[in-house]
Amino acid sequence: MINHPLIDFQGKYVIVTGATSGIGQAISIEVARQGAKPILVGKNPDKLKDTASRLESPGIETLCIDLNDHAAILPQVKELSRKIGRIYGLCHSAGIVDTVPLSSLSVEKIKAMMSVNLIAGIEMARAVSRRDVMEESGGALLFIASIYGLIGMPGEVGYSASKGAILAASRTMAVELARRKIRVNTLSPGLVKTGMTDAAFSVLSEKHRKELEDDHPLGIGTPEDVARAAVFLLAPQNTWITGINLVIDGGYTAL
């Protein structure tokens, strides 16, 4: 009996945004371990180079893009595809959070979060899913959302809005792109220890932080916990999974 691996990306290209830190970096490492060629997207060339060197995987590409420059996304992805060939997948992991109460929220802060968390994600999807960019047999798009796109959290009005919006947009993309065998899913992590969440939670009181940690029955997560789930949703073998949101939160929303 031949033992087929459950997951094998077979050298397919997967673009990962936010690849130089936190969850995005962990996903880049994990997809590479499972046989993909990751294309690392970030805005800092030195950090991209550093992450690429740590992956120890052949065929890694980097794409230096400022995700706030929405007009640059499509031409740069098209150009890269012309150079290296068809792309199989996208994981939009780049995100920013600005934790402030509603009274201190500003239009600029909301726009900044929407720009990266939502608009850049949709633009990346638009570029990667083009018929002249994506593999003709189909592909997979994955967006790293958040449980705060599903439930309320004080101080996260703008962030919640951006993550809720990408959840909604993904469902429509899933329906629209299914006929081309392009699967679109989202992952909603709970509290994961990264540089970004450290910054977000540094403004909270010690008591509030402790409460948040206690609210996760399995404790707070690691980027690797999220990366394993991301690989599952992106994997070429999981051809019947689309339009779902996988909550991975150590039991936070089960309480």
Partner: protein
């Protein structure tokens, strides 16, 4: 807009290589020219050339030359 530029514009619209898009290329041979592609074409003609067409009018277009004709009729295509 020249005919070459128009063909490039249409190729990009339907996400096809420009070599594939010729005046005689039929709708059936362009995967991106499906029902959603028609909506894309409708929006793009409006945005790029200020040409407003109904879905019914767009349904009557069967090959690339028909799209060129529409652009030409609205005076937006140079006669080469």
């Amino acid at each position: 807009m020249t005919r070459t530029e128009a063909l490039e514009w249409i190729a990009n619209l339907f996400e096809e290589a420009v070599e594939v898009i010729k005046p005689e290329t039929s709708r059936q041979d362009i995967p991106g020219w499906d029902s959603l592609g028609m909506l894309t074409l409708m929006a793009a003609l409006d945005e790029k050339f200020n040409i407003v067409m109904s879905e019914k009018e767009l349904e009557d277009l069967n090959k690339i030359d028909d799209i060129l004709d529409v652009i030409r009729r609205h005076g937006k295509l140079d006669y080469a």
